[in-house]
């Protein structure tokens, strides 16, 4: 049986935090191991931050909707916003930030998509009319039988 959880909010850094707390609270109720829950928290935070900082950079309080669907093997989190599309209508490659240079040139950002790609099992993005649909998939650890 699938369990679901949905949450919509007008995006700011503060409301984003409340949304993620609400999702984490829901996840606690489904008995997810702490490490996997941590992965979800980091990836979801990065995805929502991207929307707040980029898609809605020029929009005060654009709406973000989050829908979580849990099946026995996979947790799917779909995030919808009405900001401009991702560049070239594509998911960024999410290469690791270049940290090879001297101290002065170390990156202070550009870590987000790399973290999302590392922490999710799969990602899906599509532009649908005026909306961005980003889905994060997390495989669930196998539960012991019995």
């Amino acid at each position: 049986m699938a369990e679901t959880f949905a949450y919509s909010f007008r995006a700011t850094e503060q409301t984003a935090r409340s949304c993620i707390s609400a999702v984490m609270e829901w996840l606690r109720g489904i008995d997810l191991p702490a490490e996997r829950a941590g992965d979800v928290q980091i990836a979801l935070t990065e995805a929502v931050n991207n929307i707040v900082e980029h898609a809605y950079a020029d929009t005060l309080g654009g709406e973000i909707s989050i829908q979580c669907d849990l099946s026995p093997k996979i947790l799917k989190i779909r995030i919808v916003d009405t900001g401009p599309p991702l560049p070239d209508d594509e998911l960024p490659a999410g290469l690791p930030a270049d940290i090879s240079g001297p101290l002065e040139t170390l990156p202070e950002g550009g870590f987000g998509w790399h973290l999302i790609r590392e922490l999710t099992s799969r990602l899906h993005y599509e532009r649908q009319l005026d909306r961005n649909l980003l889905s994060l998939f997390f495989e669930m650890p196998a539960k012991p039988i019995g």
Binding site: E13, Q14, A16, R17, A34, E35, G38, D39, Q41, I42, T45, E46, N49, V52, E53, P96, A97, I99, L103, E104, L106, P107, E108, G109, G110, F111, G112, H114, L115, E118, L119
Partner: protein, 112 residues
């Protein structure tokens, strides 16, 4: 953002008294680190043992704090919790910073 600062064995210890360093507080953290470490020992140890969660903005702010110290001073990290450790590892920032399991380990490493 709440930072407190003490000195031990010639190092400045800055403790983050918050359970997260995220996008909503990254700028404040960077500014507070600047004022806390404006002068003082060459070695600064950032005690992260209370920080349960960090995102890429928080990570960027810690990198910025290290850059603010300049080349003649260093920023070491102590007591990262599992999620903080994971973010540093996945971004390979664990190769840039020295991470000590605990504040004791970090302070002890100074006595060479």
């Amino acid at each position: 953002m709440s930072l407190t600062s003490t000195e031990a064995d010639g190092a400045q210890i800055v403790t983050v008294n918050a359970d997260r360093i995220d996008a909503a507080m990254a700028i404040q953290f960077k500014e507070d680190m600047r004022s806390e470490t404006e002068s003082g020992p060459d070695r600064v140890i950032l005690d992260l043992s209370l920080v349960q969660f960090i995102d890429s903005s928080g990570l960027g702010a810690i990198v910025a704090a290290m850059k603010q110290l300049g080349r003649d001073r260093r920023l070491d990290l102590a007591g990262p919790t599992p999620m903080v450790e994971k973010v540093f590892r996945l971004t390979r920032m664990d190769t840039i910073f020295t991470l000590y399991d605990s504040l004791n380990d970090a302070v002890g490493a100074n006595k060479t």
